[in-house]
Amino acid sequence: MNAVITHNPSGEPPQVHSDAALLDFLSSLLDYTPTIPDELAEHYLSRSGFQCPDIRVTRLVSIAAQKFIGEIASDALQYCKSRQAAATKDKKGHQHGKEKRLVLTTEDLSAALPEYGVNIHHQEYFADSPTAGTAPSQKTND
């Protein structure tokens, strides 16, 4: 719609940019339904102060979040596959044709998330009581 002229401090000729791409993209968003529903996005955006009557802008936000989660999931998938491949290599290839189920575990997530700024420390095991797992000789009560 409007041509924006920016002045660059480095002295380069002003660049005329058009918002045509953005506008087209926004109009195409009306056809695209993001996985994150609009109501959910609107609720959380309104909680943080985001106010926009245009649904396309809300959809833009939800698509950004969807992309973010998709990238994390694909990274976790890579970790999961590499782990499975390592396991099958150890077992000397009797299970070449067999494909095991790909399950998203917290371990894979905790391996994939630091790249995106989330550090998760996953507990390896849980104990019922402080003396659980200790040698029987150390236990006082039976």
């Binding site: 940019h17 058009s18 994150i36 909680r47 950004a64 998203l104 997530l109 995106y116 700024g117």
Partner: protein, 444 residues
């Protein structure tokens, strides 16, 4: 990017702790990090719903990526991350809009926020927003990624309860009590809601008087019931007469009302019930009105003569062969066989048992009739389970005692021929008993 990373570091740990303690899905988690507006106590239910929806969306995305299964804790982590990302985007976009002097955000604010939050696009200040790398990445994503709509329709939330405001003075049509209160303000509550108003009906209840009244009412009811009973019995007698002579129904005073009642009994039903109620209330007038009321009462109406109304034919029971006898005697009263005659076959072995006990005396066999008569008089039975000499002596002793006990009551009843016959029997019994005793003593 760094700020966000630091934030996420804190959040990640807290989030995991929460997951481990099974606190996921309830209430706000780590909102102190600054994202979102801070969940209040009223937002707990909304939060839970929103989280559930986010979990579903995230699991759909993972499924599209290629996973066959998901760990629950992993799903919760991802859902929380997605919600935080949304909130952070919104917050950043809003702050950019405020920076430009606007309250409403637009697409460019969002793009700037996306760049801020570190999507793959480069964070450069020199290029135009519409050419930002972040936006280009998103556009590329939209083009190539598969469209996965949300699985279920999500209703608009949060649902707020519509509150009906208190009506104003003007709406109620009341004038405010004081001059300084305008009429468009909500009306005051009723004084009865905050003041103790006096009771309207204070009935002085005297327990003695109440009991007296109750007793009087009972008396009245009893009187009406007894008179009603009398009327019923008289009407019954009249009704039976009326059956045999239908013409008499017209002549008799009650008959008129009866005839009338039978013809019009559907319409009179209501009258009868109302009349009855009036009856019980006024017992003094009862006797005059009662015949008329009874005539109206369908339940007290005389039975219909045979053949007037079609009734299904009832076949009598055909169990025993003696039913034919009953058919012959259908005109008169039905004669049922006596209990003794019916159970005679069962009684015979009983007599034999008694003979076994008294094996010493054969004379009893000759008189079975006497035994039956004794049974009629309810002979007490002395049961012993040992066999030998002792049983004989015991049985004889019992018989002797019987003879003694039977004689006094027979003398009391004694009228007519039965007395002499019983005395003779008694003498014979005594003689026999003595004989048997003597024999038993000889044997021992």
């Amino acid at each position: 990017m760094k700020q966000w990373q630091q934030k996420q570091a804190k959040i990640g740990r807290r989030e995991v702790k929460k997951i481990l303690t099974n606190g996921a899905g309830t209430g706000s988690s780590g909102v102190s990090s600054g994202s979102g507006g801070g969940g209040g106590s009223s937002g707990d239910g909304v939060d839970a719903f929103a989280r559930a929806v986010a979990k579903v969306a995230v699991s759909q995305l993972c499924e599209a990526t290629g996973f066959h299964g998901l760990q629950r804790s992993a799903v919760e982590i991802l859902a929380d991350i997605a919600l935080r990302y949304l909130s952070d985007l919104g917050k950043a976009a809003h702050s950019y809009a405020n920076l430009s002097g606007r309250t409403e955000c637009n697409a460019l604010d969002v793009v700037l926020a996306m760049e801020d939050l570190g999507l793959a696009g480069a964070a450069e200040t020199s290029h135009c927003v519409s050419n930002s790398g972040a936006l280009r990445d998103v556009m590329r994503y939209v083009e190539y990624a598969e469209e996965i709509p949300f699985a279920r329709p999500v209703p608009h939330f949060p649902v707020s309860k519509k509150r009906v405001p208190t009506p104003s003075f003007a709406q109620l049509g009341e004038t405010p009590p004081h001059l300084h209160i305008p009429s468009w303000l909500p009306a005051f509550p009723d004084p009865r809601t905050y003041c103790q108003t006096p009771l309207w009906d204070e009935r002085k209840s005297d327990p003695c008087l109440d009991k007296l009244e109750q007793a009087q009412q009972y008396q009245k009811a009893e009187q009406s019931l007894s008179s009603l009973h009398l009327q019923l019995s008289t009407q019954g007698a009249l009704a039976s007469d009326g059956l045999k002579n239908p013409q008499n129904l017209v002549t008799s005073s009650l008959g008129d009302s009866q005839l009338v009642s039978r013809q019009q009994w559907p319409s009179r039903e209501q009258d009868a019930s109302s009349d009855k109620a009036a009856l019980e209330a006024h017992s003094s007038k009862g006797k005059v009105k009662r015949p008329a009321a009874l005539a109206h009462n369908t339940f007290l109406a005389p039975p219909l003569p045979a053949g007037e109304k079609e009734v299904s034919h009832i076949t009598p029971f055909r169990g025993i062969a003696e039913v034919d006898k009953w058919k012959q005697d259908s005109a008169g009263p039905v004669t049922l066989p006596s209990v003794l005659e019916v159970f005679a076959p069962a009684l015979k072995p009983v007599n034999k048992d008694i003979e076994v006990v008294n094996s010493g005396s054969r004379s009893l066999e000759e008189k079975p009739g006497r035994l039956i008569s004794e049974m009629k008089d309810r002979m007490p039975v002395c049961l012993t389970f040992d066999w030998g000499q002792k049983t004989h002596t015991k049985a004889m002793a019992a018989k002797l005692s019987l003879a003694r006990t039977v004689s006094p009551p027979s003398t009391k009843r004694g009228r007519g021929n039965t007395l002499s016959w019983k005395e003779e029997e008694k003498d014979e019994k005594c003689k026999r008993a003595k004989q048997i005793l003597a024999q038993a003593m000889e044997e021992s």
